[in-house]
């Protein structure tokens, strides 16, 4: 993890503040991007409670999170502080059943 990125400490707090954290465009009720909506759908389908952060109104967060994880796009999903991936990876892992096993391994309840 890069430590001197913008808003690093703030992001660190968010990432470690909840079991499942999603940085997205918009919010779960009104996602503003198809990729963000897809991850929300996967998490809701698995009934996994998660904390979301909207990067659209917060330019420092929007750029800082990309540097923090060395990942160029939004959405970004974190479980127990670990960066899991963006939309493609979450969907691939969900389809392969890997997302469920990862959540169980990390002690996060999923339906």
């Amino acid at each position: 993890m890069m430590t001197n990125t913008p808003a690093h400490d703030r992001i660190d707090g968010y990432v470690n503040g909840d079991d499942v954290v999603l940085f997205m465009k918009g919010n779960p009720t009104f996602p503003q991007c198809g990729f963000s909506a897809a991850v929300v759908e996967v998490l809701s389908h698995m009934q996994v409670p998660f904390q979301s952060y909207d990067v659209l109104p917060d330019a420092e967060l929007r750029e800082g999170i990309k540097a923090y994880s060395q990942w160029p796009t939004i959405p970004q999903l974190y479980v127990k502080g670990e960066f899991i991936g963006g939309c493609d990876i979450v969907r691939e892992m969900f389809a392969a059943g890997e997302l469920r096993s990862l959540l169980e391994e990390k002690g996060v309840k999923a339906a």
Binding site: F35, K66, Q70, W71, P72, T73, F83, I84, G85, G86, C87, D88, I89, E92, M93
Partner: protein, 88 residues
């Protein structure tokens, strides 16, 4: 530097540019690109590369993004990426 047209917005990339960059960055990789909407901005790519072996998906995708030299997320808005290791 990303090339810009007269209106200053980033030029969309074409499929061959993406393929070339990935092949350059991941020598020997097999790259299958599909232009999802024909707008040069929404692609799906499947990259098969022996170097992915044993690496978590996040790392595999990051290797592809590195090969794309920072274009991902800017000039290249949407690349639905799938990575895998060649069948033994």
């Amino acid at each position: 530097m990303a090339d810009k047209n007269s209106r200053g917005c980033l030029m969309p990339m074409n499929a061959t540019d993406i393929e070339d960059l990935i092949r350059e960055g991941l020598p020997g990789a097999e790259v299958d690109i599909r232009d999802l909407r024909g707008d040069g901005d929404h692609y799906a790519a499947h990259v098969i590369y022996s170097g992915f072996k044993g690496l978590p998906r996040v790392k595999q995708h990051q290797m592809v993004y590195e090969a794309l030299k920072g274009r991902m997320g800017g000039e290249l808005h949407a690349l639905a990426l799938q990575t895998s290791v060649p069948q033994e």
